[in-house]
């Protein structure tokens, strides 16, 4: 194996050039900027850092971001699974269009999505006026933030679960049915365990994206301190005051949380895929 790899390396030309270009671009775009974040934050004392990130307003913004992203990711996971199931299992007119439209949140600039959703959900908007009759306000509340995040996150879940559902062999379900399982049992014991890793992956991606999302949320949130102010907006307002130390402190916590979520996801993924495939 090693001999083959070594041969491989020599035979195809271009290693030096492609490696050089890759590392140079990575260094310039990713590494140097991240290092400067580390360098800059090393100049902030821990006391200063702790004072910024535990100040009531910043803490409230973390909570708002966390709560709305989590709820949005749960909604996305449920609806995304229904959408993926519909697209994989059923044939119906307009399926192709539906499949394309799901990726709209990837293609539509977040600011455009933000202002459109805001106008639709204000108390005199097309959708907001319907909810206002029941006393539910969407725009400028946490419900509004969650709505924007559901919009942003939905394609992540659909695109993560769709290929797995498509690959799932119908034979297993048929076998379960023949052995006497009812519809719910087949769903919970046969299908669900198979798609769980992909579903968790999609959930994590939409959750992580929601935590950092700015463009679509900032219009619909109303941005009231302690109530509808998200963490990225706190960074933005610190930057507008040229308070780089505070902005960096808030950003560091966000980066740590993002990495932590991805790490947990990686662990869960490798675990569940081991359980499912039976290899330990």
């Amino acid at each position: 194996m090693t001999a083959f790899m070594r041969k491989n390396k020599r035979v195809i030309p271009g290693f030096g050039l492609s490696f050089g270009v890759t590392v140079a671009a990575l260094g310039f775009i990713v590494l140097i900027p991240l290092c400067s974040l580390v360098v800059f934050s090393s100049g902030i004392s821990f006391k200063e850092f702790a004072a910024v990130v535990t100040s009531p307003r910043v803490r409230a913004s973390y909570l708002v971001s966390f709560e709305t992203s989590l709820i949005a990711a749960v909604i996305d996971a449920c609806l995304g699974l229904i959408l993926a199931w519909t697209l994989v299992r059923y044939d119906f007119p307009g399926k192709k269009i539906m499949n394309g439209v799901i990726e709209l949140p990837f293609a539509l600039p977040t600011a455009v999505a933000g202002i459109a959703l805001t106008h639709l959900t204000t108390t005199n908007g097309w959708v907001g006026s319907l909810f206002a009759k029941f006393g539910i306000e969407i725009a400028y509340t946490r419900i509004g933030i969650t709505t924007a995040l559901v919009f942003i996150g939905i394609p992540f879940v659909v695109r993560a679960t769709q290929p797995v559902l498509a690959k799932l062999d119908v034979q297993y379900e048929e076998a379960a049915r023949i052995l006497g399982a009812n519809g719910r049992q087949t769903m919970m014991d046969v299908i669900f365990p198979e798609i769980l890793p992909a579903l968790v992956g999609g959930f994590t991606l939409s959750f992580a994206r929601g935590l950092g999302e700015y463009g679509s949320v900032v219009f619909i949130a109303g941005n009231q301190p302690y109530k509808t102010e998200i963490a990225p907006l706190m960074i933005m307002s610190k930057l507008q005051e040229y308070d780089y130390a505070s902005a960096t402190s808030i950003a560091l916590v966000m980066l740590l949380v993002a990495f932590l979520i991805l790490f947990i996801n990686a662990v869960l993924q490798s675990r569940t895929s081991k359980i499912v495939s039976g290899i330990s």
Binding site: T22, V30, T86, A111, P232, I235
Partner: protein
């Protein structure tokens, strides 16, 4: 058979939920943008779009998107070639770093470039004496946009190249073909659709990036305002016709991108199916 029969009523419930959700959440905003942009007549729409600052914002967005596309395409092809065709130490680190920008909040992405090239940076005196302004200028906007779209092209090509394996490239190299010739005649035809797909994805995100660009732009009207930033400016000034007119252009672009994507996806499926181990 039994499954087919039992899925009868559930089928329409599922399709109904899906259609309802997509219509309200995704299609309604599009319709709203277009109708609001045209509510004062097409003359008002044209006036808003032809405004000097609007034209400048459109041109800046086109410029930034093009530079980003060229940079990330070149990088993506080299990175994919490097990662899939050679074995070397640190490969895992490189692929992790390529994906890293996906996990960073756009606002934080803007912040790290602000810290790298801004006033408090160690590089600032050099940049200043060389007369280069990055932060609150166009180069900063370009850098931030490249960062947020950095992995898009590479991530689309890498799986295709991995699935195809490198036997044919090796054979060509043994028969004496040069690197560029191998790429053009063997690799490129294989990755062509994935590459275009990645480029379209990259273009979509680049033209619409808001958070990262907002941090680095300085919001100088006519100079460093891209389309999304200009929309924010109009919106905050209660010029809704103007804001939605500019948005309508981006909505049309988004629809074009969606159509291109599904066309490319189908083409890509057809040409790589044989090479994929699925």
């Amino acid at each position: 058979m039994e499954i087919r029969r039992n899925s009868g009523p559930m089928k329409w419930v599922f399709i109904g939920i899906s259609a309802l959700f997509l219509t309200i959440m995704l299609i309604l905003p599009l319709i709203y943008v277009i109708t609001t942009a045209l509510q004062d007549g097409s003359a008002a729409f044209m006036k808003a779009v032809r405004d000097t600052y609007a034209v400048k914002a459109i041109l800046l967005t086109v410029k930034v998107t093009l530079i980003t596309l060229i940079f990330n395409t070149v990088f993506g092809v080299f990175a994919a070639w490097c990662i899939t065709r050679f074995q070397f130490k640190g490969k895992k680190i490189i692929s992790t770093l390529i994906d890293l920008p996906l996990t960073v909040s756009p606002v934080v992405a803007g912040l790290i470039f602000l810290l790298t090239f801004g006033r408090q940076s160690a590089l600032y005196p050099f940049l200043k004496s060389a007369g280069i302004q990055i932060v609150f200028a166009v180069p900063g906007i370009v850098l931030a946009t490249i960062f947020v779209t950095f992995p898009f092209v590479a991530r689309e090509i890498i799986p295709v190249l991995t699935a195809a394996g490198s036997d044919e490239e090796e054979a060509a190299a043994l028969m004496g073909a040069g690197g560029f010739r191998i790429f053009r005649e063997i690799t490129l035809p294989r990755i062509k659709w994935a590459l275009l797909y990645g480029i379209v994805l990259c273009a979509a995100r680049a033209m619409g990036e808001f958070g990262a660009v907002s941090v680095l732009s300085g919001h100088l009207r006519g100079k460093t305002n891209t389309m999304p930033l200009y929309i924010e400016l109009l919106y905050q000034g209660y010029d809704f016709t103007g804001a939605f007119a500019m948005s309508a252009i981006l909505v049309i672009m988004a629809v074009v991108i969606l159509i291109l994507r599904s066309v490319l996806k189908n083409k890509g499926k057809g040409s790589t199916e044989n090479g994929r181990p699925e």
